[in-house]
């Protein structure tokens, strides 16, 4: 998906400009915006929450938080897959916390 999007965006950004100057301008613009976004999100937490989002708790003490699962369009299978991969847990009952992180990955903490 990222590769397809990258290819599509490239056509719109550089179009038929094959010059080194064009590459520097396009890459510089994207780099500058990335740095600006980084600084703004570092400096102001409210803006960080808007741009990067906030974690969402999906499982608490072996119980699914159904409303959050539905809002994030996640299934139990996807949570359990991460629970098995990360912590080797076999049952939802063994999950203490499952959190949808701002990166899009699900972190799992198993019960002691």
């Amino acid at each position: 998906m990222d590769i397809v999007l990258g290819d599509l965006v490239q056509n719109g950004v550089t179009q038929s400009d094959y010059s080194v100057t064009g590459i520097i301008l396009a890459a510089g613009t994207i780099g500058l915006f990335a740095m600006l976004t980084e600084y703004v999100t570092f400096r102001w937490s409210r803006i960080r929450n808007v741009i990067e989002g906030e974690p969402v708790i999906l499982v608490e003490d072996g119980k699914l938080i159904e409303r959050n699962m539905k809002n994030e369009r996640l299934t139990l299978d996807e949570v359990m897959e991460q629970a098995r991969l990360q912590q080797g847990v076999e049952s939802l009952d063994d999950v203490r916390w499952a959190v949808l992180e701002t990166s899009g990955s699900i972190s799992v903490v198993k019960k002691e």
Partner: protein, 174 residues
């Protein structure tokens, strides 16, 4: 049961207090994106061609070309002249908007004459007998820097005498 993992709070990250409206914002953004795609299907951003016609007792002219396009796109404009009476020296006179910010890839058939007529492009096709037609294609590609709205009027002349005019504009999106 202990509290939430460090950095998280049950009220904000489990119960979504103060964050519930974000779901609505997300949905609105998704609807806006979908709306953008739907209006694109209805030719708002080009490049489906549209016909413009004009007719007089002497001749009729039909132009078939997009009125919305995006930079970088290639298309062919079709000009269909039908002579109802003899046209001794037919000229299509085009606004500069037909060439400015475009790459003209080709003209078919090649006009007999190509000249400037008071800042407009004039293509001469010679004699078109009454009842005969002439179809002229202009292959164009929109240059990336050609963004905005331009006039693309088309005038059909017999030598220097105007027979009819079609008023058109094209909007080019970045």
């Amino acid at each position: 049961m202990a509290g939430a993992p460090e950095g998280l709070t049950l009220s904000r990250h489990r119960d979504m207090e103060g964050r519930r409206w974000w779901v609505q914002v997300r949905r609105v953004l998704l609807v806006l994106l979908a709306a953008l795609l739907v209006v694109a299907l209805f030719n708002l951003f080009g490049q489906r061609p549209q016909s413009s016609t004009a007719a007089t007792q002497r001749a009729s002219l039909k132009v078939y070309a997009p009125v919305h396009a995006r930079s970088g796109l290639a298309y062919a404009a079709r000009f269909h002249i039908t002579a109802r009476q003899d046209i001794k020296d037919a000229f299509l006179v085009l606004d500069p908007g037909w060439a400015e910010g475009y790459t003209v890839n080709g003209l078919a058939p090649q006009p007999l004459t190509e000249t400037d007529r008071n800042g407009r492009l004039a293509y001469g096709f010679g004699h078109i007998p009454a009842g005969q037609s002439l179809i002229f294609f202009m292959s164009l590609q929109v240059n990336p820097t050609n963004v905005g709205r331009r006039s693309q009027n088309v005038e059909l002349d017999d030598d220097e005498t105007p027979i009819l005019t079609i008023h058109r504009k094209i909007t080019i999106f970045p």
